[in-house]
């Protein structure tokens, strides 16, 4: 890139002698503390690379968290990733890759001084960002609807029975499970008593059938009686859910027997990781779109030329990083085997 910059504006470099940046006739985009446009371009480029390094480290913390949770509890990831929609994820990957392509093309166009083409390509890149965010919004709203959320907001009832998206059924099941999930840990006395009364292993057959029945029958048949039956049967399972030191793959939730297999403990971790990683990435996409929008305005205004295209180049670098992070997120979250 350095050589390219030199090649692109050798004249301006020669025209501005050392230490005389205030001489008349220097390039309007040359700031006073640089000796030449090349020096300015190189400084900007190094600065952007360093900034990208900080971004990688920012996400690095999350990748670390991902690695630790996945290493310690692979079953959570094996189970939970099935709820992500690989098709939408793949489409989004393509959308971002194409936008990266248009961005790279825009950089080249701006280096050649093709102002009109640069503007069009920047607009296309921006649209790529819009498309990505819209698809992300669709995915998020499905997750919210199905209770596939992080930490305290994770609600298995919504997705284990809610595949038919039947409003009435979903509400009843939610109420029942909500009572079990949230009341039991707080109401320790009750849960403990239930546990001693019925020390059922996690593979309690009755629990399996009774919870499973509505699912297999496909009927929205969660009557009040069934819902009332659920809490005592689920109660013995609660202590494992609130265990201080989660003990590996023990304690599979029979309640989770559906298309996706038995539900392990702490599935919410996966969605915590999913939402923090994709959420932070989404914020970066928005920031990138703001940058590209600004570049578009400047490009239309005619700020860039073959002599001065630094902002397009640096904005492009940032957009590629945003793309690159998604390239890592997609397989790590969607394509687990």
């Amino acid at each position: 890139m350095t050589q390219m910059a030199d090649a692109v504006h050798p004249t301006s470099h020669a025209a501005v002698p050392h230490g005389d940046a205030h001489a008349h006739g220097h390039h309007p985009n040359l700031e006073h503390h640089f000796d030449s446009l090349t020096q300015q371009f190189d400084a900007g480029k190094l600065g952007m690379w360093l900034f990208l390094a900080t971004e990688v480290l920012l996400f690095g913390g999350l990748f670390c968290a991902y690695a630790i949770f996945r290493r310690n509890h692979p079953e959570v990831f094996m189970y939970a990733h099935q709820f992500l929609d690989t098709t939408w994820g793949a489409i989004n990957t393509v959308v971002l890759l194409v936008s990266s392509f248009t961005m790279a093309w825009a950089v080249t166009a701006s280096q050649r001084g093709q102002r009109h083409l640069t503007s069009i390509l920047l607009a296309l890149t921006f649209l790529g960002g819009v498309g990505f965010m819209v698809i992300k919004a669709v995915e998020y709203s499905h997750k919210f609807h199905d209770g596939l959320m992080w930490g305290v907001h994770y609600d298995p009832a919504k997705h284990e029975h809610g595949h038919g998206h039947n409003g009435a059924h979903g509400a009843a099941a939610t109420a029942a499970h909500g009572a079990a999930d949230h009341a039991a840990p707080a109401d320790h006395g009750t849960a403990g008593a239930a546990a001693t009364a019925a020390p059922a292993a996690s593979t309690h057959p009755e629990a399996t059938t009774s919870v499973h029945a509505p699912e297999t029958s496909g009927q929205p048949a969660a009557t009040g009686a069934e819902a009332a039956d659920l809490p005592p049967e689920r109660a013995p399972l609660e202590p494992s859910q609130v265990a201080l030191a989660p003990a590996g793959p023990a304690g599979l939730h029979t309640g989770g027997h559906d298309l996706h297999g038995p539900r392990p403990d702490n599935v919410h971790w996966f969605f915590g990781v999913y939402f923090t990683m994709t959420g932070l990435h989404g914020l970066h996409v928005l920031a990138g779109m703001a940058v590209i929008g600004w570049l578009f305005v400047r490009s239309v205004r005619g700020d860039f030329s073959a002599d001065y295209f630094t902002p397009v180049d640096l904005g492009g670098l940032y957009w590629h990083l945003v793309d690159l992070i998604w390239i890592f997120l997609f397989p790590l979250l969607y394509l687990i085997h």
Partner: protein, 572 residues
Amino acid sequence: MSSLNPAAAGPLVGAPAADNYLTHSRGFWSWAATLDHKRIGVMYLAGIFTMFLVGGLFAVLLRSVLLTPDAAAGGVKTIVDANMYNRFFTLHGAVMVFIVIIPGIPAALGNFVLPLMLGAKDVAFPRLNLCSFYLWLIGTAMALASLYWGGVDTGWTFYTPYSTKVGSSGAFGGVVPVVAGAFVLGFSSIFTGLNFIVTIHKLRPPGMTWFRMPLFLWGTYATAVIQVLATPVLGITLLLLLAERLLGIGFFDSELGGDPVLFQHFFWFYSHPAVYIMILPAMGVMSELISVFSHKHIFGYKFIAFSSVAIAILGFLVWGHHMFTSGQSELLGVIFSAITFSIAIPSAVKMFNWLTTLYKGSIDFKAPMCYALSFMWIFGIGGLTGLFLGMMGLDQHLHDTYFVVAHFHYVMAGTIFVFFGAIHYWWPKMTGRMYDEGAAVLASLLMFIGFNMTFFIQFLMGTRGMPRRYYAYRPEFQFHHIVSTMGSYVMLAAVLLLIYVLIKSLRSGRPAPANPWGAGSMEWQCASPPPHDNFKTPPPVVDAYDYESLEWDERVGGYVHRGRRGGPAATH
């Protein structure tokens, strides 16, 4: 060289140069929207010094509370109750670490002198530099705003689950603004570091090679690398903490199967390197002060330069020594312990190089030198007690006692000595005024005595089992606490005297010559205060530690280059 030496026209009358960075433009916005690294540095300095006083006030309050054990043991606590005490020590720590010491030397003094030392016109990204300053202001405001929401009582380390569960007013509490403020301050720090790296790489004038750079720049460079590589991890850690508290994400919450110790790993992965963000620039300043005030070439330039880089690298690999008692594996502990010991080597390299620089030097006990020598004593103790704590077995006993408190004050608060030394050293350059040397030296001595009174006895308390952060204590510790508190009052007096010295200098100080100390680095080659553009033409690059070519010129009241004396070069 014209206009670079205004005071030369007539000694001691010197109206400052007609156009310097202070007089270049006037009005509020000429400062608030300035892109001049010197003005930004001065604004940083004013802000950071003010916050130092705030943090110091909290400390004096804390020490005063600790004068008596508590009501049960016969004493009476009258100043604040236990909850308020917790908030004070938390805010004292957070303010001093994130707002004062981390940005102290790099952002305030580094901003001012780095481009000057390099022979550059400004830092690489002046707008980003101003942005850093405003981020600092915003972060500081957020941290102080926490008092409005009931304060923070987690300690500056924000350990989970305190920081996610406990709070005076619900999910929000004071924790959220402080943690968010620390996040913002982190970005301020990142942008400063990024700016300095690019400046040093790209804006060195011809002739200024890496090994001609003054050692302060090596220290700043190593610091900047840590700022850029470690601070983002703090950023994500604090974001996760906020997500935990506000959204219940469960990463660090054992009730949801999360791991509170994971937070400690994340936190110390940044916060141990952060200790080197604090100390490396101080060590850089030390190399300048020791050499200049010994009037002797720095000993072992390359060793000092590379030891900064070595500390920066090793600093990333020792975070686990904060967690010997947190339940990490023994093997991990041994590794962390071993690397912790090895980091003493580059630190000792610096100490011995300073010592050998002093050896047979012509030592000049000016105030900056007094602060520098104080730091050698203080850092010697702070560094060696760090080895105690790096021993896994001994740390079981000393962990979270006053021994730790004393240790990290000897290291981190020791850098405040260098900060003060650096303020005095560059004060003539920044303001164009000299200060009262006698009073300044007195302040530095008081500071040194007060500091050691306050903290040395805390080593004793700690080994005898006095835990840190406690409001009430057993009566047998009262004597220690009283001595410690008296020491803090001495320090308070020293700081007040220092403020008096600086204000008096601003009001009626003798105009400063371009080079009052006989220093060789480039910032002393431009006028005091420097002109807006620093250098009309880049001055010739010389050995920053060559004092042979400088000589005292009575008419200027400062040092000039041999051969320029009395000649036309020195007089206009």
